[in-house]
Symmetry: C2
Subunit: 308 residues, 2 copies
Amino acid sequence: MVQLVVGGAQMGPIQHADSRQVVVARMIALLEAAAARGVEMLVYPELALTTFFPRWYMEDEAEIDAFFEREMPNGATAPLFERARALGVAITFGYAELTPEGRRFNTSILTDRAGAIVGKYRKIHLPGHSEYDPERTHQHLEKRYFEPGDLGFRVWRNAGVVMGMAICNDRRWPETYRCLGLQGVELVTIGYNTPSANGQQSSEGLEKRLFHSDLSLQAGAYQNATYVVGVAKAGIEDGHPLMGGSIIVDPDGFVLARAATEEDELILAACDFDKCAFGKTTIFDFARHRRTEHYSRITAQTGMQVEV
Amino acid sequence: MVQLVVGGAQMGPIQHADSRQVVVARMIALLEAAAARGVEMLVYPELALTTFFPRWYMEDEAEIDAFFEREMPNGATAPLFERARALGVAITFGYAELTPEGRRFNTSILTDRAGAIVGKYRKIHLPGHSEYDPERTHQHLEKRYFEPGDLGFRVWRNAGVVMGMAICNDRRWPETYRCLGLQGVELVTIGYNTPSANGQQSSEGLEKRLFHSDLSLQAGAYQNATYVVGVAKAGIEDGHPLMGGSIIVDPDGFVLARAATEEDELILAACDFDKCAFGKTTIFDFARHRRTEHYSRITAQTGMQVEV
């Protein structure tokens, strides 16, 4: 029987002026609160170390690079890794990665309970756009600041559980969960920064946006018989609101825990990973039921093609 | 602007003793009620002409064939086609198809508003099993009585709308909606017969099963920016309960109409197909955002492979 207490460390806003040290201190406070409540695996948001900078159009390389990490751990984050190791808590968090070759990715890492990095993921589904768009109420320039991830969707066995990572907009794409599900994933961790308003449809409203986030996480969990944890960076950053709504979802698609605030807030659930087996061996026994001969469009065709 | 009033003709139970004529008379009554309320496109359940016979283990070919149709329309169903043409209502319904070559499929057809068949679909994701299974509380022998569909997931432009069909268990598979979404689908019609209890987990309960049906339809709609109509055959057939829960879902994933009973019952919604455009051109603009280079497992690998 594999059981693990899984936590989501929702983070309230990070202002542009906040240093990495201030942010990491908040992350450590969440970690200590989690460990005190028995959490063994803790999930932080996407781009957890800085404000959500893709909302700003920048051209100056130095200004952009200031939001990126050149190595991980680094001086600012080492205390988090050290505290996680001391407490025996596996963690995952997101950050902007600048490689030695000068490539930029929206990245997350996964550690084991000894504080060692065992997995890295680079965000594949980058939303938004790459040039300034005057028709939007706010910019979402992820396609400007990041390349699409080049590491694929992978899983790692960590603390006895098959874990996979995804980031933010990846959660809306069923391909994400299916690629992980085909590898037997039992826990999908997804950090996000999601604006509270749709920059292309201001009438949309927060309620609908929370519903879409829930719906995607719940369907991904059910249809792949896996736990899914979605963790927000939330609240008003430099005047720009981000939604909360962090949840932990079980393999039936039911929400086990939900954040109530848009601040630093811990959610947690005791997860029994044996519960993944029922779906994986019955209605979603892929080997018996999938018909890949009819799925060819999914990989052969990127965009919509209306031929009727 | 393309608008259409779409109806779901949920059907209550059909007993083994009920003739095709009795069933077709019920279907015509639903059609007339729908037309009177302005419905222009009406969706009936899977295997709409008979009781859900895959619950019984049969070996006798003649006994099996009695549940199948050798042509469509045929003598029993011609009055339905005629009435639909007279009323100008496009329809889709499911039936068990026996081909001239002796092949058996779980099939649905689509007509235009002039009563002509314009599309055919054969169910791809057959649930259940092919041999008698003493460990189940009830049998679900679709893999015994049907071959997997050989026509793929297709769309047709009908009454101005890009329509695709799926059947029952297809609705739980995101591949279904995505294959249709890649072809620009705006209305997915899905008939079903879903037992109210899980034959492999009697504790599951009706509420959870309705939730899973809703979740799958809603996620498929949202993630492909399409309307989805799910229509049940419901109630107690020959002692075996089938769940209801027919719904019409909009491209945001919201439920517009829901059946309240397990009987013959009409649901309907005025659908504005221009509402499909927003999702298809923004967050789910596949051409800009999908990364097929990372999806290869979805088509290259049928079953789960745990390699960690």
